[in-house]
Symmetry: C2
Subunit: 183 residues, 2 copies
Amino acid sequence: MTEGKIAKGDVLRVDSFLNHKIDVRFLSEIGREFHRLFADCGVNKILTVEASGIGIACVTAQFFDCPVVFAKKSRSSNISSAVYSAAAHSYTHGTDNNLTVSREYLTDADRLLIIDDFLARGEALNALVDIAAQSGAALVGCGIVIEKAYQGGGDMIRARGIRVESLAKIASMSEDGIVFDHG
Amino acid sequence: MTEGKIAKGDVLRVDSFLNHKIDVRFLSEIGREFHRLFADCGVNKILTVEASGIGIACVTAQFFDCPVVFAKKSRSSNISSAVYSAAAHSYTHGTDNNLTVSREYLTDADRLLIIDDFLARGEALNALVDIAAQSGAALVGCGIVIEKAYQGGGDMIRARGIRVESLAKIASMSEDGIVFDHG
């Protein structure tokens, strides 16, 4: 995590290895660790959200030998009987997104692992959890690369009884640097 | 390609394995083939565009042992000195996008392979080629999963002297089915 940059407005920039340029070797290490954590859970599908979740999910899926489904973001509230959908506000971009997944790609026969790059206030992850619930799939848990623990999203979702594993948990962040939570 | 569906408006839907649900084993076969085609080109970086290019690019990059950079799409014409940018109209979505890449992630020291899922009229690929040219990087070529050859985008880009390799070339498409170009 020496490559992360702290930008204005409490934004951690990880453009250099995760969000714009992608260090694919690093993704393999991430995928291996998610597989170690969720190896015994019978995962048969990985759910993520476009765009930056897709690379992490695909490399992780190689370890589970399973397909990926990525939720699509749209500005409009696309109420269609053909999709599961849930709203998610992006504090980073100041936009309201609607996340959608076609019903044909998630069913109650699935055992899902949700993967995403960031967890802060939990808006996107909460929407993915809602979509999983709409599908009737069994949700074995969520694998997150970086959790900004002080923003509370992770604990909110854990309080729903959902297992959330974050590879790096940030306890606090300021211009002086990042304090990790090793607990 | 037995899984592709032909939808209205000359749209080939590959949601079931490439564009929404992703068959990650299939991505490995794609990556292996792109590596075979461009193995001797000294590729040190792969350039693609969000969202559906990212998974293909990341798995392909594993074969080249190199990083991926994905261009971001925005509706606004984001003229900033910090980015390379090029306009691309999406006929599928009826939108005008501006593709951008941070200058710090592409330089004249790079030997680029461009990867994308679809090539039809060539709007997105043309924009990626323009971005590569702005960076001064050497472009070794473009690897495309599915080219709709009858829409002419591939030949337009080949006419610019750029190597374009498409794993499946569609000669024509109608409600009766798909005719592949095996030439």
